[in-house]
Subunit: 221 residues, 2 copies
């Protein structure tokens, strides 16, 4: 933990600093807190968080009045980083390609051990702080479901999919196909990280199954 120079909270003075000191104290704390909460759950001690952030306990308490406050601030900040899983996908592509891509993205990001650890922490915390589970659901799965559902409805209007009108349930099912046990295994700690070829295989398979179930005859095979 050798260090050289410390920085004030507000200025961006240039100097040779260790990476962990580049950001402001607040940002550093949030980052460290995210990591510690993710890997140890809500039970990490504030001491440990302070140490990880390379900051004194007092500074930690100056920035965030309490553990709960820190935790919620961390959640709020991280929430923003989780969005837009589906943006920038045009309508012009074949539904199968689009779906494959969504699955691929999901596997590489949302199902990574890192993200699963975060998810596990949220699940644990949502017992103690129900509003956190709700907020996570709103910002994460729910938003993704809505985007997916809207996309499906659009494709249906174009005659390229046929879900019998229930695009919402179809979207849930597609997400279900993707996560199918992968998430569960990760949450229980028996997850083996997927190799790229496995990701590719599963992503294609998901899209294929979905298309078989919901594609119009013309696209079937």
């Amino acid at each position: 933990m050798g260090n050289v120079i410390a920085m004030s909270r507000n200025s961006a003075a240039a100097a040779t600093l260790s990476p962990s000191q580049l950001a402001s104290a607040k940002a550093r704390i949030l980052e460290a807190a995210a990591e510690m909460f993710r890997t140890h759950g809500y039970d990490v001690s504030m001491e440990a968080v302070a140490a990880a952030a390379n900051v004194s306990k007092q500074t930690l308490y100056n920035q965030f009045g309490s553990k709960e406050e820190l935790f919620k601030a961390m959640i709020a900040e991280r929430g923003a980083a989780m969005r837009a899983p589906l943006k920038a996908h045009a309508l012009v592509r074949h539904p199968r390609d689009m779906l494959t891509d969504v699955a691929r993205q999901y596997y590489t990001h949302a199902c990574s051990p890192h993200e699963i650890g975060y998810y596990r922490m949220i699940i644990g915390a949502s017992q103690q702080f129900p509003e956190i589970g709700a907020a996570y659901y709103e910002a994460g799965p729910k938003e993704m479901l809505e985007e997916l559902s809207n996309w499906i409805a659009r494709e249906e209007r174009l005659g390229r999919l046929d879900t019998g009108g229930d695009s919402k349930l179809a979207a849930e099912h597609f997400l279900g196909l993707i996560t199918a046990q992968i998430e569960a295994r990760g949450l229980l700690g028996v997850g083996t990280e997927m190799q790229p070829t496995e990701i590719e295989r599963r992503a294609r398979y998901c899209a294929e199954v979905f298309m078989r179930a919901f594609g119009p005859e013309s696209l079937l095979r």
Copy 2:
């Protein structure tokens, strides 16, 4: 919870006792521990467990040497209660009916708030005790997946399903279709308990989607 007779640990002597004393101390403790751990996570105090079991702290420690031991004993006992989700299903039925039934069972049992609470607890504990997550997976999801996969393979041999040979992945996908977001919502505490009609709707839908994707042409519609 009216009761009549109480038992000593070893004998079955009859007497008028309070309801909570009907079972042996050990059994009562395990039951209370399951409930407390389920609703409060691993963080419940041993005091609270003892109180819930209507037993002194010392007796608790006489039966189970430590909190960890109690926790694991409780898991081991509950594990047995979770099996056999799929047994006793004959091969004679139409695959669609079988699948609908599986989904129905899953919704009524595995997705109940009670079971979800238990699942959440296991997830939380599997961070602290990785072997617990693994044990749960082996006894629960994995076993169910294997049964399902074997059934699918059999149906495939009979020409009533066609998964292209990957019955294991197909089984995972079917489970994925069932849980699709239901479990996630439950874990995050935003789950609204499903009404019977909703269960029925979803169960049928799951089976329908699976059949569309994996049923042979003759069964398609």
